[in-house]
């Protein structure tokens, strides 16, 4: 039984480890730290497979969000903030196959490329650096409200690109 279990986990690892590692590395910029997050995320899934509710979204998207959150916690040297069971992720595209993810990633990069630079920058600082809107406002010298709006409208632009298939 145990060896069968481990092969199931290995299969999931083979399918999703490149996404998890890429997200962790993007946030942390350090291969050793990214590897630690990769290990932690899959161990969490192993210990608590029921935390992911498949009725509510794709495993690929959920792992991406869990990984990003864990990597930000590591970057900011704080204890993990959210219980993974509380994280429900709803996303339109099916991200199970590598080809689907590659197509989605290309589309995302297209949307990011067409965003005004300050908006893309605010969105990426919030997402990949875990900066609060006030930290971003301090750094850029722009009003808080502007930063908030840029972050939300940046996320909405991504959503819009995937609506309707």
């Amino acid at each position: 039984m145990r060896s069968g279990d481990q092969s199931a986990l290995a299969e999931l690892y083979d399918r999703y480890s490149s996404v998890v590692y890429a997200v962790a590395l993007r946030v942390l910029g350090d291969t050793g730290a990214a590897e630690d997050v990769l290990q932690e995320v899959f161990l969490q899934l192993w210990r608590n497979p029921g935390a992911f509710d498949a009725a509510r979204g794709s495993l690929g998207a959920w792992l991406a969000v869990i990984t990003r959150n864990r990597a930000i916690d590591a970057l900011r040297r704080r204890r993990p903030e959210t219980d993974i069971e509380d994280v429900i992720v709803s996303v339109a595209p099916d991200l199970a196959a590598q080809a689907d993810r590659a197509r989605a990633a290309e589309k995302v990069r297209g949307v990011l490329g067409s965003m005004p630079a300050p908006q893309r920058s605010a969105l990426e600082m919030a997402y990949f650096e875990g900066m609060s809107h006030s930290e971003i406002a301090n750094k850029t010298g722009e009003p808080l409200g502007t930063i908030k709006t840029r972050i939300r409208s940046g996320l909405m632009a991504l959503r819009k690109a995937f609506q309707g298939g």
Binding site: L9, S18, V89, P93, R101, K148
Partner: protein, 266 residues
Amino acid sequence: MTEHEQFAEDLALYALNTLEGEDRAHLEKHLATCTSCRMELEQLRGDGALLALSAVGPRPPQRARQRLLDAVAKEAAPTLSQKTRDDGAPTAVGTRRSWWGVLGWAATAAVLVLAASLWKENAALRQDVSSLRSLFGQQTVELEQARSVASAITNPAGERFTLVAVKTPPQPQGKAFYLRNRSNLVFVANNLPALPPQKAYELWLIPAQGAPIPAGVFKPDAHGSATVVNPPLPAGTEAKAFAITVENEAGATAPTMPIIMMGTGE
């Protein structure tokens, strides 16, 4: 500005875990009671997941895979106590997953067969925790299959075909699938009339006793089609019927008459 608009930008920050202090506490209080904001939060996290996909880089080193498998092998065989949460509730694989939540009428027959076999397996699982792990991989594959079935119903791009007796003009129709012991509800409707501005349809669970319970606020698409999947419902409520009213966009806590559609269990 409505209450939801007021929270919209904070909700995006919250989805990224960067909202702090009073704003966070204030929003969490609102989220506890607002279904539409909770659903928007899930969507915003999904938008963030898309952003995460833009990260590209090298594949993880080969040793990372072995490190994980070694760590997993070292962990003691799972025991019942390890698989039990602090509150004593079992967290067995499958008990938390909402198999019935992905039911849609177009695929009822196919999924029923799948769900019945899994239900049986899940019952056996509770008796045999050691088999949990091996089922994990299999269920993940099957869950992904079930998701693809669900997406045929819930994806906005999905095409809908409603079959009725020939020469019958299109009628508004709704179908609710409800699994009481798991509080799972899937509702699918079509041919719904367009709504006035600022209004939405609200689905109600009419319990055997007591007041109607809100079961989701929704707006039909341009073709009059709509879907509600797993709205928050009190556990184990017996449903006598489901009903639909027209309410303000934010939804209501008690139905505003008249009831425009209603159906009892078949």
